[in-house]
Symmetry: C2
């Protein structure tokens, strides 16, 4: 476990990734500011290519492979935003992508991955079978495995999102980030540490998947056991690469309930007219729940993605 990163790594990742991703806008809402008692800056990765920030990490990791490795392609197992992002990034960079998905993955996500031209193998939805299926396929193809978050180059790719924030606005007092496996918040915390050390970084985590909260407060990685939350992007546990960065550079982990997440999501949908996924609404929920922590401050919220099945809404 290491936090061996330098400011050059942060600049380098941004330089490498910037022409392959959208610089997403920062939106604001005076009505929600009034409710929060703070100045909120919504960094809209829901408008990012493939619908989430994950394209940043996928792109950075692919670009760090050798030409020979790139030719053989990339492989991962994921049913979520990383599957779509890796498929999309691979197509942009013109290399093969192999995605192992559970056989019960939502059709909308399978269609998106297929639409981006990746090959898919389905398997039963247990960690063991997913990994075995992937290993077998990797042996056949020689593709490089890219972990959705617990990978140094993926983390550095995610650091480019906060990098953009610091270009778009004067240094915020805080950045609030959803936490699942910890890829996005690790990258965010590294960027803040090197480029805006006074900016505090908070994680927002659903109470029904509070492994990061336990890990953070008890100084060891807790597994994610039977997580139960509407924030389906935040079910995974921290990893060997993300945990030490979070331990060192994140200020606190804030828990919120699913009811608070849904209420925050409704607020953003109805007031800002943008579609954000439940995982992304955790940050506003955390700010509204901890008003004194953020009072009168400039607070950036990472809207991590907008991949929602509109046929299955919580409203």
């Amino acid at each position: 476990m290491t936090t061996n990163y330098s400011i050059d790594d942060i600049h380098g990742a941004y330089k490498r990734v910037k022409d392959h991703v959208h610089q997403t806008p920062i939106l604001t809402s005076t009505i929600i500011d009034d409710l929060a008692g703070a100045k909120l800056l919504f960094k809209c990765e829901n408008f990012q290519r493939a619908g989430s920030f994950k394209i940043r990490g996928a792109t950075n990791a692919i670009l760090q492979l050798t030409p020979e490795e790139q030719k053989r392609g990339v492989i991962t197992h994921s049913s979520g935003n990383f599957a779509q992002a890796l498929a999309y990034a691979a197509r942009q960079l013109n290399i093969p992508a192999y995605i192992v998905m559970p056989e019960n993955a939502p059709k909308v996500k399978v269609d998106a991955v297929k639409g981006y031209g990746a090959q898919i193998r389905f398997c039963k939805n247990t960690q063991k079978i997913r990994e075995a299926t992937m290993l077998e396929w990797q042996n056949e193809t020689g593709a490089s495995f890219l972990h959705p978050y617990d990978n140094r180059n993926v983390i550095l790719g995610q650091s480019t999102c906060a990098y953009e924030i610091l270009q778009q606005v004067e240094a915020p007092d805080c950045i609030v980030v959803p936490i699942g496996g910890g890829g996005l918040i690790s990258g965010t915390a590294l960027t803040a540490h090197f480029l805006s050390p006074k900016t505090r970084v908070y994680a927002a985590e659903p109470q029904g998947a509070d492994d990061a909260w336990h890990s953070f407060h008890q100084n060891k990685i807790f597994p994610s056991e039977n997580p139960n939350t509407i924030a389906d992007g935040l079910l995974t546990a921290l990893g060997e690469h993300t945990f030490p960065v979070i331990q060192k550079h994140v200020d606190d982990v804030l828990l919120i309930t699913d009811e608070e997440i849904i209420e925050a999501m409704r607020l953003v949908w109805t007031r800002m007219k943008i579609i954000i996924e439940p995982s992304s609404a955790t940050t506003l929920a955390a700010v509204l729940k901890n008003k004194s922590l953020f009072a009168n401050q400039k607070v950036a919220l990472l809207v991590s993605g907008g991949n929602v099945d509109v046929n299955k809404l919580p409203f």
Copy 2:
């Protein structure tokens, strides 16, 4: 019935209104462009103050009143976006607003109007009773009646939306606009006529409320009888002020079904991650239905608003 407008009216309205409204962004989507076979420019009035373009007309009309009239306030009857817009504009300009709403108006709209500080009187939902209730209240208050669309200054206010488009992009080949009472498309057609005469202007209308289509093709105003469509902003008939402008300056009225509207709305929500109301989705539906008319052209679509009750979605 007159189309007595000048280019100075168009410039004047923009000058009057511009500091009171958002310059809304134009968004694009390569995926939807591929589907349409055209370059689509979505002018996002769903991000406008009070959630729709209506604030433009309301503001322009209020600003044309004398100081004495402004002091006595403005009055209208509406259950839709104009009620919210007039309430919002009146509060911004610090004058009283009186809104007659049907007693079965959706709670979310009543709450919005109340939230903007307007006074509300409820009445039974027939045209006759609404008008009688309004007249009585107008006699008590001396407020100026502003029609939601059939008013010269309201039409000129709506012209500022296309005015912005022409500032934001090189002249598009076409602009497609939802048509209900015709305020927005009249303003749009006037702006195109004076400032970009090669730009064609099309109306998109739900088949279940096709009075404008009949009016356009038979050269007289048809009433809107028992309209039945999900596009709840497009139920009204053309008026004496809007009809002649439309007759003279609109190229055609394109009809679409509610199924096509819902499909277009789903496409925008899932691909662009923005919330648009059914009335706004008519334009994309019309483009997807009439591909040869728009093939390889630059087509601006007026996204008129984003006021949707998220508890009552068609998905």
